[in-house]
Symmetry: C2
Subunit: 295 residues, 2 copies
């Protein structure tokens, strides 16, 4: 018997479609039904075998569903939950793949207050340069991390089911508070995305942009890979988590002000000390070692 009976995937982009493919490959899921704001990606998902059927509205989608994954940009969560709320049956577990958690939980409390025991907010830490159902693959979550931020009201069986589903996809699951989640990811994910988008935009608007880009090499390629990310998704993340992100940006601006001072003074030893500290931390992390606070 499959771990999950009927699965509903709301949003068949990279994240939602890869979840379905991974569960199918694991033999861990029954029928998979897709729903979303536009018809075309759903048709593609069906023809690619990602979903079995396209739901005819939320009543149809939720009929007999065991698990619902909402895998949409976080700016859509409010409207999605409002639409599903009247049709949500007791016992159907609802989870999401939103990159921010406090705002998603606000939407949960606004619209699904009658079903909090069945809601388990989550965030799979996975992405790829490409988005959309065509980019999806069953192995996306292997050895990736998924953060669960259960509500105080989430029933343990629902949390266990969501955990087991992600583990069946090959992911490692951890739990955090929504507050900690949003602060940590503002620092290690949202800020780097903002910085990379900003650098590419800065260069792209120059009159000599063709010359500049023609000399960019592998360091630039890696630094700016995340500037190829989905603009709507990142717009929503930035707006949803703007408090934490502004704090991170301001801390970083202070770091840049310090570096600017060292540069202006031609202070080689001062610059080298910063670079050395960064290299040590980065290499330890890349080697899988714990990173201690630098002195």
């Amino acid at each position: 018997m499959a771990l999950i009976g009927k699965l509903v995937v709301c949003g068949v982009g990279l994240i939602g479609a890869s979840f379905a493919l991974a569960l199918r490959r694991a033999g861990a899921v029954g029928p998979v039904v897709g729903i979303g704001r536009s018809r075309e990606p759903l048709e593609r998902a069906r023809s690619l075998g990602v979903i079995d059927a396209i739901a005819d509205g939320w009543a149809d989608a939720l009929d007999g569903a065991e698990l619902v994954l909402i895998a949409a940009p976080v700016g859509q969560m409010d409207a999605i939950m409002a639409a599903m709320a009247p049709h949500l049956q007791a016992g159907t577990i609802v989870t999401d793949a939103g990159s921010t958690k406090r705002d998603v939980i606000d939407a949960v409390r606004r619209h699904l207050g009658h079903r909090l025991a069945d809601v388990v907010p989550a965030h799979p830490i996975a992405g790829a340069e490409k988005s959309g159902v065509e980019a999806a693959f069953a192995g996306l979550y292997i050895d990736r991390k998924v953060v669960l931020t259960p509500l105080a009201e989430s029933r343990p069986e629902a949390v266990a089911k969501v955990r087991a589903a992600w583990e069946a996809c090959g992911a490692g699951v951890v739990e955090m508070s929504p507050h900690d989640h949003d602060r940590v990811f503002a620092a290690v994910s949202h800020l780097p995305h903002l910085l990379a988008f900003g650098l590419v935009d800065d260069l792209a608007r120059r009159p000599n942009a063709p010359l500049l880009f023609s000399h960019a090499a592998s360091g630039f390629r890696d630094f700016t890979r995340i500037a190829g990310s989905h603009p709507e998704m990142w717009r929503d993340i930035c707006v949803a988590n703007r408090g934490a992100l502004l704090d991170e940006l301001d801390t970083y601006l202070a770091e840049l002000a310090q570096l600017r001072g060292l540069l202006a003074a031609g202070d080689g030893p001062g610059l080298e000390a910063v670079f050395e500290r960064a290299r040590r931390a980065r290499n330890a992390w890349a080697d899988g070692l714990p990173v201690q606070t630098a002195e």
Copy 2:
């Protein structure tokens, strides 16, 4: 007959050692002699077959040499050229692999003024996460770009020889003015390095650094890869090119101030427009298309 007779490599790190290995593989070089500030990497380079012999000082190194590659952090160029100047024979071509060019050319004019016809400054656009002779490999320069910034005094035969050597390594060679070189690479290379070092340093100094790094994922990995670069090399680049780099940093700080304003205002459409413009430029570049100035 080999393209180059005796080759002297000053600095047997990633760049210098890979140049020697690439020329050897191409059958394009005679004896290769190493010289450098410390003995130990030279011993390793000899035992790895990168060089045939370790020079016993500059007089020994330059005796009968056809080409000298100075592959050292740019902060050492002045001292190296001062040391080699008294022993440099007419006709021995001198090139370098310095990441900045105006400062290297200043050092050339200070110390090698009697041999300007034989000097061809250059910058191979290649690097790797690891540095040192152990990281060197013959294929490092395949399909990479090498920028030559010849002096007005450089004789055409010397320029052609240096070009041919890099082409034998598999690289594509272009020529630029030193001024253009230093401005372009401040934007597409030096600034991204400074930003990546700064971000990792910012996070590494936090009391919760272990937590933050434990949740960093693939986007962070790529964004910060260049923060694993050689601190001394990057110290020297930043100090040598600080005028252009300060200009780039200030332009970027203006971009961040604009993004900060959009964030603080919760201006989703404004953020999305920036992200979309950046994504379009980045994807065009990654697909090998020319990048036009964005509107």
